[in-house]
Symmetry: C2
Subunit: 390 residues, 2 copies
């Protein structure tokens, strides 16, 4: 089992009725959060920027179906009302409640539905696998399946749930994640660890390049397993965040293939990440992958507009499916071409038929690396997003 | 008629055989060009950066079907060979020939086909409408129709042809344009005028956010109508460039709707252009338009990640079809909502059924404006780009 309920001190509950879902999670301890970088932020995010200053949470309430964004004063009051509803259900104060929303933008919240759902699920709060799954399922919007991850270490555990799917881009998408640990850590150290882990995971997932107004990642430490090695905790947290991030990419709206882009030989980790994210986010690269076409010209063209400087004639590109790898170009020499090397081109096309594709791009300018994750672009993505609010 | 052949001193010819097309245009005079900003540039572009220093052309040769990008030394020699082939056909020197290519990346040119096609069309060079149409048709790749524009002024004419369709993004896409005037203008003044006109036209068209390695706009002045008012020429040139740019957006790959985004109230023209291009390029906005869904939340979310600072609560968004206009939000107050104002929401959906949509977005922070053009994102775009080289 991979439930957040494996973390000592965590109880969960959830319900999903049509497009309206509600998750309630009870866990007391030091806490930290990171939020969207979009200029337009959801009302619950606005509220959380204040709430999280205290660095402590007793629980979290999350609704799906309405993002409560661009709803002004009423939206802010609705977010406060959600905190009050959860505080009453969990027997604490509203200022110790994390609030998050996901769904359509620019519509007022159906607070009555949320209040009713919370009243009905609060007594089902439990720390078993089903409870964790109910919470993971309740926060889904266009997600096809609930997303969980866990990292067990000697003496403590880190586990989390997330929802993503659409509007996924650097600086996260409509991406909510709720992560828990039973290690005892200060809120300052939680924040520091969360910023690094988020940068190397959620911020490197690109589905469509749109950045949401609601992203947030909450991290709560119940502390029930006492003090633990900080570096060990950071590595476990990063492991959970990357595992959740990859699940978001795998479940990208309409995706048929999971794509991992590994950029090496960059002048800095930031450069490597920028190029990796630009490649994995390129509509032309994404459609070529969907078409199982090793059109590496689109890969280098995307890298060329990414920003970081490099010499195209000093780059190398290869693709693989986890088992086989085919070099497409090496130091500027074309290795898969219908005139020069049709066999390599055929081999490349063959391995693209798989469900997972790894693109390796060496910039040949330095020693820094970064990996980004995404998916192909399909007719289904268009269908899903062409019909979302109607 | 809108043929470049209406410009005195211009002769054209063109042929399209399967995916391989060739255009030959004869016109002597001062010339200027602007090129792609992608770090990875096509070999013909590399050659033109040298050629255009002289500021004069006797003619242009353009092939479609192969972009001659990332083909290294051989590719560069192939581009030089194209110039030599055209020079021989037009009776001039290779250094006075403009060379451009469009098509698939990373494959060596079939120079034999180009040489053969040039030999066959050179004797068809003419200054009639059919000749101009042949050239406009020869440079098409996934374009559905040839694109021409003309601006007639007292005493002189400016006319051009272009091809676009895929890989269209800020800093142009796989976008080739060949513009002619019979006004007499120095190459320095041509360059100055072209940079401004390009910034306000081709650089504000977004189809898929990918920037090509081959973009170029050539401007040649035959001078046969003598010296003309420079401002008058600049306005005519901008008119032609904007007309061509809008045709590229209209013919975006798989597009069913043309979208114009007008941003007002910005702190600078650059800010306004950045926001307009981000909105018109957002996959979620594009799919919502395809789905005829007035999901303005996606519009403001896109603006929020564009970069320029603004107060969401001081913005206003409306959409129109050229006749009717519906306000979606005004100074932060929602004007079209299924709870607050279902009638406005219905009216908005109704006008989105048209083929042309105009989005007006007021940032409420300044007095500068900019317009960007694009199209919706459809299953057809995915189909076209998922199968392009295979």
């Amino acid at each position: 089992m991979k439930s957040i309920c494996e973390v000592e001190g965590v109880e969960a509950a959830g319900i999903k009725e049509g497009k309206f879902g509600l998750a309630l999670i009870k866990a007391s301890g030091n806490a930290a959060a990171v939020f969207t970088k979009n200029l337009v932020i959801a009302e619950p995010v606005r509220l959380m920027q204040k709430t999280m200053e205290a660095g402590r949470l007793d629980g979290i309430i999350v609704n799906s179906g309405n993002a409560n964004v661009f709803t002004g004063e009423q939206g802010y009051r609705d977010a406060e009302r959600m905190a009050a509803i959860a505080a009453e259900a969990l027997g604490t104060k509203p200022e110790f409640i994390g609030v998050a929303s996901t769904g359509v933008i620019g519509r007022y919240l159906h607070i009555d539905i949320i209040e009713d759902q919370c009243r009905r699920i609060k007594d089902t709060l439990a720390s078993d696998e089903k409870a964790g799954d109910d919470a993971a399922g309740a926060i889904m919007t266009t997600d096809l399946y609930p997303k969980r991850a866990i990292a067990r270490r000697e003496g403590f555990t880190v586990a989390g749930i997330t929802k993503g799917s659409g509007m996924i881009a650097p600086n996260m998408g409509t991406m909510l994640a709720f992560i828990y640990t039973d290690a005892a850590i200060s809120s300052t150290d939680l924040k520091k660890a969360l910023l690094i882990a988020t940068e190397r995971s959620f911020n490197r997932v690109v589905v469509d390049g749109d950045t949401s107004t609601n992203d947030c990642v909450f991290l709560t430490a119940t502390g029930l397993k006492g003090t633990q090695d900080y570096d060990e905790f950071c590595s476990a947290l990063e492991e959970v965040c990357i595992s959740l991030a990859k699940k978001i990419a795998e479940d990208g709206e309409g995706a048929t293939k999971f794509v991992e882009v590994s950029v090496t030989g960059a002048k800095s980790e930031e450069d490597a990440a920028t190029v990796a994210k630009t490649i994995v986010g390129s509509p032309l690269v994404k459609t070529a992958i969907y078409g199982e076409d090793p059109n590496w010209g689109r890969i280098i063209a995307a890298a060329g507009r990414a920003g970081p400087d490099f010499d195209p004639m000093n780059t190398s590109i290869s693709i693989g499916d986890g088992e086989k790898t085919v070099i497409l170009e090496e130091k500027g020499v074309i290795k898969a071409d219908d005139k020069i090397n049709p066999a390599a081109l055929a081999a490349a096309k063959e391995l693209m038929k798989g469900k997972k594709l790894r693109i390796e791009f060496d910039l040949g300018t330095g020693n820094y690396n970064a990996t980004a994750w995404g998916c192909d672009l399909t007719e289904k993505y268009v269908e899903i997003n062409g019909k979302y609010t109607t």
